[in-house]
């Protein structure tokens, strides 16, 4: 587009620091209409911070923002929207109990005072047709799938006249099929002259979706390149700052006795619907079974039912041959089931308690840490000293409150606690989500080491690369059912993608996975 030769948005030397972190260090970026500009980088590289500054959620400590050739000082999201800048956050900003129309009408200027949802529904219909984003305005958001919720978010931005749309990790919640749909929508938006920022840490998508790629690392821009003039390896090198080993060194797996046998599990979600519909799984000691799938297909319920946090409606769970179907969390933990929870800060630690107190969370009621109802603090301290050293937990001291640790160190603390008792079965949910490269590598190594030491590991993750890298076998969950189990060596990304979208693997092949 000829008239879009000048940049729609220019960010110049944006600097922003948080206590202890320089999140953005003199970052500059130019966005043009009719183009998709990918912002690529590891977690914590400063991509989201930069875009939050553009969207008026944070104020930059220094630097300038130019919109259509005018210097602006973006004070708030409302101001950003009035300048034609919209953003779809990674964690959707939607009011779940409200309807789609109510969500769109929220804070939307130009809606009538009385019965605003009716007017909004009409306008939504037009936009949906134009961009290929079908939604039902009267449905409540919590009844929508993640992909549908994302559509609502995009519509929210479009109806507010966003010419520049920032999408923060838009594909992390989508099936491969839905990713394709999203890319089509982005294509239409490009054609209508929108500028799109696509934040991601996944190389393949970036190459597929973007016209330009800007790579960030540790708060700085490493470089900006045209997507067609680069490749995966070059981008990865820019992103991590060194040659990337795409495979961990992994010994062949030597499965032992059955660590976990689950049969015909039926489990209800919090909202009362069946989240697991008759799942059967088997996992041996010394192997890693990856559970892939788009978020919200029953992973949470699977983890919870195996760790005693949720009751199975029907079915059986055996750990090391012992029937533990409706056992409590404590009984399972005492029987050698470790749990690395998804929500590490909300569930995995007690933020205000010290590192050493957190390290005994699961075993505070048993010797050597407790005798006759009295805590043995000396034993706890000794254990903490060992754990901090062995797992390289960076903390000022064992008595520091756990909430002061970084995300990676909190996760190491959790692993130290869960893995130290040589558990027979480890249930790990999203163990590296949101961690930086170094911590991610260390945690993956720890899991592999535990496998080699004879633990069976159930690895639930939305990161397909992680599952392909770590797992010995891969099971795919879709709407509470297992679409198939594939040995990792035979699995192709395409095949797993199809199963994630609900295509069942041929029965003969699935049999080989059991």
């Amino acid at each position: 587009m000829a008239e879009a030769a000048w940049a729609a948005i220019h960010l110049q030397n944006i600097t922003k620091s948080f206590p202890g972190v320089l999140a953005n260090d003199r970052v500059s970026l130019a966005l043009r209409s009719g183009e998709v500009h990918a912002l690529l980088g590891e977690n914590g590289a400063g991509k989201t911070t930069l875009m939050n500054i553009l969207y008026g959620l944070y104020r930059a400590d220094a630097g300038e923002i130019w919109v259509k050739g005018r210097k602006v000082n973006i004070r708030s999201p409302r101001h950003a929207l009035s300048l034609g800048i919209g953003m779809v956050h990674q964690h959707f900003k939607l009011v779940l109990p409200h309807t789609v129309a109510e969500n769109v009408a929220l804070g939307l200027s130009g809606t009538p005072f009385w019965a605003p949802t009716r007017a909004v529904a009409r306008r939504l219909g037009d936009l949906s047709d134009r961009y290929g984003l079908p939604v039902d305005p009267d449905r409540r958001v919590w009844d929508l799938s993640a992909g549908e919720q994302q559509r609502v978010e995009i519509l929210k931005a479009l109806i507010r006249g966003a010419e520049v749309l920032v999408l923060d990790e838009p594909t992390s919640v989508l099936t491969p099929h839905e990713v394709g749909e999203l890319l089509k929508v982005l294509g239409r938006m490009k054609a209508e002259g929108h500028a799109i920022v696509f934040i991601s840490h996944k190389l393949d998508e970036v190459l597929e979706a973007a016209d330009w790629v800007t790579v960030m690392r540790r708060g700085q821009v490493v470089g900006t390149v045209r997507a067609e003039e680069t490749d995966k390896a070059a981008l990865a090198r820019m992103m991590v700052g060194r040659e990337v080993v795409f495979r961990l060194t992994k010994k062949a797996c030597t499965p032992g006795e059955a660590a976990l046998v689950a049969e015909d599990l039926h489990v209800r979600s919090d909202r009362g619907s069946l989240a697991l519909k008759g799942i059967s799984l088997a996992l041996c000691r010394g192997e890693i079974l990856g559970v892939a799938g788009v978020a919200g297909n029953g992973q949470r319920e699977l983890v919870e039912v195996l760790t005693g946090l949720r009751r199975a409606e029907r079915g059986r769970v055996q750990v090391l041959g012992q029937d533990l179907t409706r056992a409590s969390a404590r009984r399972l933990s005492d029987s050698g089931v470790a749990h690395i929870p998804e929500e590490r800060i909300r569930m995995g630690i007690v933020p205000g308690l010290s590192v050493e107190e957190n390290l005994i969370l699961k075993r505070h009621h048993r010797p050597p840490f407790c005798r006759g109802g009295i805590l043995r603090l000396a034993a706890a301290r000794r254990f903490a000293g060992q754990a901090i050293e062995e797992y390289r937990i960076q903390t000022p001291s064992a008595r520091t409150p756990a909430k002061l640790l970084s995300g990676g160190n909190i996760q190491k603390l959790i692993l130290a606690r869960e893995l130290s008792g040589s558990p027979a079965l480890v249930i790990a949910a999203h163990p590296t989500y949101g961690l930086d490269v170094g911590a991610t590598e260390q945690i993956r190594e720890l899991l592999l080491r535990q496998r080699d030491a004879g633990a069976g590991i159930l690895l639930v993750s939305e990161d397909l690369e992680e599952i392909m890298e770590l797992a010995d076998r891969i099971a795919v969950l879709f709407r509470g059912e297992i679409m198939g189990v594939v040995p990792a060596g035979e699995a192709s990304l395409e095949e797993i993608g199809l199963m994630m979208a609900g295509e069942r693997r041929a029965a003969a092949a699935a049999g080989g996975g059991r």
Partner: protein, 368 residues
């Protein structure tokens, strides 16, 4: 991070102890300054009021003994409440639990046949149990039926107050008391001894201080204390760790309510020697104890000292009534002011002020 002239404000996640202490002290001082305005509005010079209070309470044995006498129920209720608050259970019901203890103790004092030597211990035991039950009900209602504990404990206060009212007007009304709504006087064996030369019923004081020490040990050194802290800080982590929420909360509330009830036992056995209408038995100790526990930041040992502070305020209230002609309601205003300035200061603890370095000052200016 915010910038104010040459200074930089930084957030911190865990304020060190001396900051907590300093800020709390500051809050109390600010409240006293605000209260000075109330004196002034009443036409009493604040300087005179405070010096009068200082002389009348801290300056005499009688005054000091008044402070301690007022502080005793506050220590017991306050220590109990620190335990509730550590479990993140908003127990506003210490007042009702205190009254429950007073009722049970009165029952034992007047209507149970026991040898004299056992009467007082039995009164304490019965009182503790009554308060424990009274506190256990809202705990179970919260766990089993999700009834908000703020409301249930408050309602239980009113219910217990009317039970006391009913008892002293009806079935327990003393035949020898003619028109008054009192029970009969306790027999001598049901009265607590005084510390010589004062009106401090020392056995309750000893129980209170011992309770503070034991609860501190319980929290720091026992499995139950650990579980209470986990449950209070992160219910999800407690569930994850397999801690039985119901049991832990129930035990915490049994102790919390029981201790508040011991305060009630002390009041009827050590001060009034009979059960009277609820407003006379308690003077709102159970409510004030909330501030005591809050100011102590959940530490049972610190609650001894904050209880003494509020004992002083109560004693000052008595004094102001007699010497300055100020109404007793002024203590309520006082307490409200202290609580207000205390919670306003909370945010303060999480900010650190330091001088900005030159280089940063420059970028800061460029940014704005």
């Amino acid at each position: 991070m915010k910038r104010l002239g040459p200074f930089v404000l930084e957030r911190r996640l865990a304020p060190p102890r001396h900051v907590v202490f300093g800020v709390s002290l500051l809050a109390v001082v600010v409240a006293l300054l605000l209260a000075a305005l109330v004196f002034w509005a009443y036409g009493v010079s604040p300087v005179r009021a405070y010096s009068e209070i200082g002389r009348g309470t801290l300056g005499t044995v009688g005054g000091l003994s008044d402070i301690v006498r007022r502080a005793i129920p506050l220590i017991l209720c306050g220590v109990g409440l620190t335990l509730s608050f550590r479990a993140q259970f908003w127990n506003i019901g210490a007042e009702g639990q205190l009254l429950a203890g007073a009722v049970a103790a009165t029952g034992v004092a007047l209507f149970v046949r026991v040898p004299d030597g056992f009467r007082l211990p039995l009164m304490f035991l019965a009182g503790f149990s009554a308060g424990a039950v009274w506190a256990l009900i809202p705990a179970l209602l919260r766990v089993k039926l999700r009834v908000n504990e703020v409301i249930s404990t408050l309602m239980m206060n009113y219910i217990m107050a009317y039970i006391v009212e009913w008892l002293v007007h009806g079935p327990w009304k003393g035949p020898t008391m003619r028109g008054f709504a009192y029970t009969d006087m306790f027999p001598v064996a049901a009265r607590l001894p005084y510390l010589t030369g004062t009106r401090i019923h020392w056995p309750t004081l000893v129980v209170g201080v011992a309770a503070a020490i034991l609860v501190a040990l319980l929290l720091a050194r026992t499995r139950l204390g650990y579980e209470i802290r986990v449950v209070g800080q992160s219910p999800d982590a407690a569930r994850y760790a397999g801690i039985n929420f119901t049991t832990v909360l129930a035990l915490a509330l049994v102790v919390s309510g029981g201790l508040a009830a011991l305060a009630g036992v002390g009041e009827v056995a050590g001060v009034h020697w009979r059960l009277r209408s609820p407003g006379h038995v308690s003077m709102g100790y159970g409510y004030t104890a909330i501030i005591v526990a809050w100011l102590a930041r959940g530490s049972p040992l610190a609650a001894i000292f904050t209880a003494l502070l509020f004992g002083l305020i109560f004693a000052a209230g008595d004094l102001m009534k007699t010497t300055l002609g100020l109404p007793f309601q002024i203590t309520g205003v006082f307490n409200g002011l202290i609580l207000f300035s205390l919670i306003s200061s909370d945010l303060l603890m999480y900010w650190r002020v330091r001088l900005a370095s030159k280089e940063k000052a420059w970028t800061g200016q460029a940014g704005s």
